[in-house]
Subunit: 408 residues, 2 copies
Amino acid sequence: MSLIVQKFGGSSVANADRVRNVARIVTETYRRGHSVVVVLSAQGDTTDDLIAKAREINPKASKREMDMLLSTGEQISIALCAMAIEGMGYQVVSLTGWQAGMLTNSAYGGARIKRIRTERIQRELDKRKIVLVAGFQGINKYDDITTLGRGGSDTSAVALAACLHADLCQIYTDVDGVYTADPRKVKGAYKLEEITFDEMLELASLGAQVLHNRSVEMAKRYNVNLEVLSSFSGVPGTKVKEVVKTMEKSHVSGVAKDKDVARIALIGLADEPGIAFKVFSLLARGRINVDIILQSIGRSESKDISFTVARGDMEQAQALLEKNRDTLGFNSIEVNDQVAKVSVVGAGMVNNSGVAAKMFEALFSAGININMISTSEIKISVLVDERDADRAVQAVHDRFFSEFGSGN
Amino acid sequence: MSLIVQKFGGSSVANADRVRNVARIVTETYRRGHSVVVVLSAQGDTTDDLIAKAREINPKASKREMDMLLSTGEQISIALCAMAIEGMGYQVVSLTGWQAGMLTNSAYGGARIKRIRTERIQRELDKRKIVLVAGFQGINKYDDITTLGRGGSDTSAVALAACLHADLCQIYTDVDGVYTADPRKVKGAYKLEEITFDEMLELASLGAQVLHNRSVEMAKRYNVNLEVLSSFSGVPGTKVKEVVKTMEKSHVSGVAKDKDVARIALIGLADEPGIAFKVFSLLARGRINVDIILQSIGRSESKDISFTVARGDMEQAQALLEKNRDTLGFNSIEVNDQVAKVSVVGAGMVNNSGVAAKMFEALFSAGININMISTSEIKISVLVDERDADRAVQAVHDRFFSEFGSGN
């Protein structure tokens, strides 16, 4: 008998039929002899509806009161799902974040889990009850309700799986796994059986919205076996783990696109030591995250630095740099938010220089210009014009995954 | 500086405008220098909507999970109202039942408050914050959420006022006070400035749905000064207290009608000692509450007993009595649910026999037949045919309260 944590997202519990569907999946797992802890998100649009209610009353409401408000969404889900499970004749108990012992710091709206007091959950499991826990929420040291921010319910589930030493943490969602590329947009994209934590992290940060990075990072840290699967299809999903058995040298697991990116170039910086440090520490103090960085080779006394930021940060970054133009000593700033990042992700990629060459060749064949290039252990990213992005993904995907182009 | 507890019902917080209206009333009280603790109900139809959601999933859901579900309604109210108060620039904090220390027994769906740990509220008041508390809810010794059942938010407010030694507990509702009769139905009905706890208890139990009896009983026990007033009108309401200053010998404070009543008559009972005891202990064991009891004077070997019960209990009472016909030894049962109870209520009434005479005279003049009569320290009730009930109330009210008929 093993312990399984199952997490269901908002669309999986959106109405009475879907709640009953979740109850069926949960009770089937229980009937197979497992102990089951279930983490639920708020139903469908509940959170958005609550946010709209709050905005109507006070658009600048404090985060503490927003958390007090929003945490009701998950509480409604666990109560309704418990009722559905009761209706099927099983012993069940629903627990809010504080009842489940989810202790967080005090960063309302984006709290971090510090510790889970698992005694209550353990006691209920010992009574052979199915335990439902409200995701996305906890309490801080003042006994005030906090929420975990984006991807919070995934994080709740992984944290519980880690603390309870669960054998598996299943993340049920409205897609049935992790694909080699977005299947709605890329012909030939297919579902992966397995993927490593690191690959999943890169894919998520590159815009594949299956699992939130926080939960994958946590799963990696505590070595929690994850599975991403659909609550509708009933077919096996994608397993996310430390090492995957199919891993080979030049394994490429996916192609991703990220449009939330803008490029900033500082032209004519003085070619003196520490100039990069000055630029990026300035941006760090302004809480602006920088992604790809490219520095031209200094041929004269001046050099250029270009880098990418999230589009929402572009204007602030530009203003910050302009304000410090004298200290930094550059000639001009160029900004461009009509760009997109296309990446291939695969563990062990760094050992196979052919992967990069294959990607560039695919883009060249499709007549797509590359603005910037960035590589890491398991990822190669290129910056292209936004209008070329979809064609770029398809071309790269064809090259790596199609029958004809596969060199994997 | 005094401490005031203010309670607002569901219609008072039904939408954003009304929530802002509540915030105005609360902050005005605070600006006058008072400490303010506010108890809120769920918005408008929220509770009914949640019940409908539950029914769709499982009509026989456990009460524990119903309480988990329903308690979200008040939590939404306190969060939204806190946001409105924040928007007006005041320091405020919202607290759920468990955060406010509302400890109850474990009777889910109808829990009783056992104790309030007021430390948290006291601490927030000491910081000069306005404190909002979710009504209708608490936690039991297992740390599970409970709800207090009907009239629960009024009870929360009175209990808090008692434990915090508040100077006043204001119950804001959609009527602006306690009237001498239902003003929508009885011409000449007017609002009372003051009323005693006992009168309020009789009026509430007689169908004047302003305050729930549980909260009035608690206010009487702990001598909490109550005021019933409207959150819309802005005019003074009705004060409910132990002794009212305008009290006179033959003071009559109101005329009430109760249609939730049925009459049962046992005909031809053996005229032997203990027969009444047998009948009513049987009904008590069946958890059927009996109200008016009338026993005929034994003229022969047999006698009749008639009594009233709530309409919902009539069939069960009848079945129970039929089942025990042999033991009780009666000839027949007559039941009638086309009756209504009309009552006049007033402290000190017992000392003035003229009150009863005046009531009967009014009914006689209106040609209304009286089925049963019952009197107590502060109340005279008559049972009439249901079709006569409204006319009876008007006739009695005219006799006691109109310019011409007033003998008060």
